[in-house]
């Protein structure tokens, strides 16, 4: 059985027929809901964004071994910070001013009463996350069941995860079916391979009609190859070879979105072969080249180093002082039209 078969969650009463008396101290549990975005507590608690809070009360600060606390926290702990009722209450009221520089980006709990409820709740758990006299039992989810029937069944127990106990555990097959994303470091690449020549046949049959025989793009369909050294020219041509920073993006995008109108139809080996061919069209490899899950991360694209972080805040136009904004006679010369939209005449007719 679950700890709280009938739980009161943020004032919402989940009416379930298998009724058992409501257990007290639900306030503390409900209030702790706002902490669960970052903290876990209980026998199965695992490190989240914040440390596990098992047995935190009446102990020296930094309870979770191995958690990487901020320097601010380390300093406070070295200074002898211990969590008793008073220190915890002061901390929870305003974490960021109590320990200035803490990673706990949380404004604080408003009411003293709520703080006491939370502290009482924290005090329930020993360092293993167990509560006196309560034994946890895990529930088995059966996703193919009719949810209504399941909930009305006499032996229904709420799932044990999270705050609201909503949703169900994802099955491995389900995660595998959707989680196809690939990162520059190769995370997410499926095992497989394909060579440029095989890729050429696939490309000619399934991609060339839009992207052109050589990746030059037919009509207004996107260009995929060429454009080397055009990024500083008046009309830059941004292609995989001239612009894209990472090869993983090509693999990931083709696998998730192409061919346009028939997404997810290519096999993993097809995607390796087409990616190899796109490298060939961009003069990065020769036609013998075979791309594999093994050699994938050894291929770097030429423009990778030219991507920089957002530094818009350094621009002169971001340093304008509002109080010095000109309001009258700001420009000495009379107005002169330097460009007109009507000359271009590219606006669609009404």
């Amino acid at each position: 059985m679950l700890k709280y078969p009938k739980a009161r969650v943020l004032g919402v009463l989940l009416a379930i027929s298998a009724a058992t008396p409501v257990i007290a101290n639900d306030e503390g549990k409900a209030l702790f809901g706002q902490c669960r975005a970052c903290h876990a507590i209980g026998p199965d608690a695992k490190t989240q964004y914040g440390p596990v809070l098992n047995g935190v009360m009446n102990r020296a600060a930094m309870v979770e071994e191995g958690y990487s606390y901020s320097d601010a926290f380390k300093k406070a702990s070295e200074g002898g910070l211990t969590w008793d009722n008073d220190t915890m209450a002061a901390f929870l009221a305003a974490p960021m001013s109590y320990i200035s520089g803490t990673k706990m980006a949380y404004p604080g709990v408003k009411s003293d009463e709520d703080i006491q409820h939370i502290i009482n709740y924290l005090s329930l758990f020993d360092e293993h996350g167990n509560q006196a006299g309560l034994v946890a039992e895990t529930s088995q989810e059966r996703p193919d069941e009719d949810p209504k029937e399941r909930m009305l069944a006499a032996n229904f127990v709420l799932p044990d995860h999270g705050v609201f106990h909503l949703g169900r555990k994802a099955l491995n097959e389900e995660v595998a079916a959707w989680d196809i994303d690939v990162r520059p470091d190769g995370t997410g690449l499926p095992v497989g391979s394909g060579d440029a020549l095989t890729g050429m046949d696939l490309y000619d049959a399934q991609c060339a009609s839009c992207h052109g025989d050589f990746g030059e793009g037919t009509g207004r369909w996107p260009i995929l190859a060429g454009g080397h050294d055009t990024l500083t020219e008046e009309r830059p041509e941004k292609t995989i070879g001239s612009y894209w920073p990472y090869l993983s993006t090509v693999f990931d995008y083709v696998r998730r979105a192409m061919p346009f109108g028939n997404a997810r139809s290519l096999s993993d080996d097809d995607v390796y072969a087409i990616t190899a061919y796109l490298l060939y069209l961009n003069d990065e490899v020769d036609e013998e080249f075979e791309l594999t899950s093994e050699n994938f991360t050894s291929i770097a694209l030429p423009n990778e180093a030219n991507f920089i972080a957002d530094n818009r805040t350094d621009e002169p136009n971001r340093q304008i002082n509002v109080n010095e904004l000109c309001m009258t006679d700001c420009i000495a010369t009379p107005v002169e039209v330097t460009q007109r939209a009507l000359v271009l005449d590219v606006t669609p007719d009404e």
Partner: protein
């Protein structure tokens, strides 16, 4: 019901001809007649009994879902056919010049798709949370409706809004120059509640939302933003999301590039590094003059535009009392002030800001003035609560060149000629 309608229409046509007004110009001509200072002849709209004064209109059973008046033919989204190869991976634009206030009606919110509009039955939709979480979870729409709900008004601007204007004045109408923005009251749940349900692991730093449509849209979002103000929403302006806005589930990323607001949201992966997917490398990176490109330029900077008068909304009434209005917004917070110039930036007056001011929402400004009939060069300049000032086109080009495509928040100029016709121009 069908028959009387025919007679109404033909009798109305007779009446219009009788009163000497061309059928096509009927509406605007009557407006002009009514607004003349002295009428030579009595206005037949007043002296004669009109059809709608006599005959009955539609009953309550005629329009189960109400639509705008049939006379509002101009209040429609428009696209620019030459921009893209296929309308299923394209964009259309909000008719800003037809709107007032700060809410964008659902049917007029601009659309941007990469694989057409997915039509998904709520019962067939799932949201998965996986990656660096303690419990990978799957939610149905019913599950998601049981999280605590909130309402927030936010603008959504495509990072490419005004992108066609970098090199100079190009498109003649604020719908086309600035229409990739809308402002909607969203209802839904805080993303952090849904993430907490799965339990974030200690090394969780990035989120990858993914759409269920044929483009499987993905973007990398830092976890701090996800835990701050991001929402997972089911409703817009009170009703269920429109299909073209991601029905049944959309991610809301307040103040940041519209592309990140993944529609038809079906999965959020939690990771420790960004993914560098197509929409944050090939697209939505800002190429500078020296050949380097900025990436992860998420915030939409402070911006404004005058929506009336504008090329699609000329001044038809001649000189005298004139209402100038427009919208202003900032991805950082509230707009605090909007200045207006009618002489191409020589002199500025602070406009009247409508008091409905919300963080990361459109703001409405008005400037009422007495037009003397001379040509005007209209500009607006927004300032947000953090002191960010909307730059001029030249200031922005000096910093970025003209090949950035995205994040053009510069000051727009409209040229009003003596006859009230308006054109998109650039001035010295």
């Amino acid at each position: 019901m069908k028959k009387p309608k025919d007679t109404i229409d033909s009798s109305r046509r007779r009446q219009l001809i009788k009163t000497g007004m061309a059928v096509t110009g009927g509406i605007s001509a009557s407006l002009v007649v009514a607004s003349k200072a002295n009428a030579a002849t009595p206005d037949p709209l007043i002296t004669e009994i009109q059809d709608w004064n006599r005959y009955l209109g539609d009953g309550v059973d005629a329009r189960p879902y109400g639509l705008p008046s049939k006379f509002e033919t101009d209040a429609v989204r428009r696209d620019v056919a030459w921009l893209t190869a296929d309308p299923k991976a394209s964009v259309n634009f909000t008719p800003l010049h037809k709107l007032d206030g700060i809410i964008t009606p659902n049917g007029l919110c601009f659309e941007r798709h990469h694989g057409g509009v997915a039509e998904i039955a709520p019962s067939s939709h799932r949201l998965m949370i996986n990656g660096l979480v303690n419990n990978p979870l799957v939610f149905t729409m019913e599950d998601l409706m049981r999280f605590p709900r909130e309402n927030h008004l936010y603008f959504l601007e495509c990072a490419a809004n005004t992108g066609m204007e970098w090199r100079g004045a190009q498109l003649n109408g604020c719908q086309f120059t600035h229409g990739m923005v809308h402002n909607v009251m969203y209802s839904g749940v805080k993303l952090k509640h849904v993430l907490a349900e799965a339990g974030l692991k200690g090394n969780a730093k990035w989120l990858l939302p993914e759409g269920a449509d044929a483009s499987h849209m993905t973007r990398s979002i830092p976890i701090e933003k996800g835990l701050d103000d991001c929402l997972i929403v089911t409703h817009m302006n009170g009703e269920a999301l429109r299909p073209e806005q991601g029905y049944p589930l959309r991610l809301v990323v307040p103040g940041w590039e519209g592309n990140m607001w993944v529609k038809w949201l079906r999965r959020i992966e939690v990771g420790d590094k960004p993914w560098h997917h197509r929409e944050e490398t090939s697209k939505y990176t800002d190429l500078l003059e020296d050949g380097t490109a900025r990436r992860f330029t998420w915030e939409m900077e402070v911006k404004s535009v005058i929506t009336n008068p504008s090329p699609q909304a000329p001044i038809n009434h001649g000189r005298g009392q004139t209402v100038l209005t427009g919208i202003a917004w900032s991805g950082y917070g509230r707009v605090k002030r909007v200045d207006v110039s009618i002489d191409g930036g020589r002199n500025w007056t602070t406009a009247r800001l409508d008091p409905h001011s919300f963080s990361k929402s459109l703001h409405r400004f008005y400037f009422d003035f007495d037009w003397d009939g001379r040509e005007l060069f209209l500009q607006s300049r927004a300032i947000d609560e953090f002191g960010h000032v909307q730059p001029t086109k030249n200031q922005l080009r000096a910093a970025r060149g003209v090949n950035s495509i995205y994040h053009n928040n510069s000051i727009q100029t409209w040229h009003v000629k003596n006859d009230g016709v308006v054109e998109n121009v650039e001035v010295s």
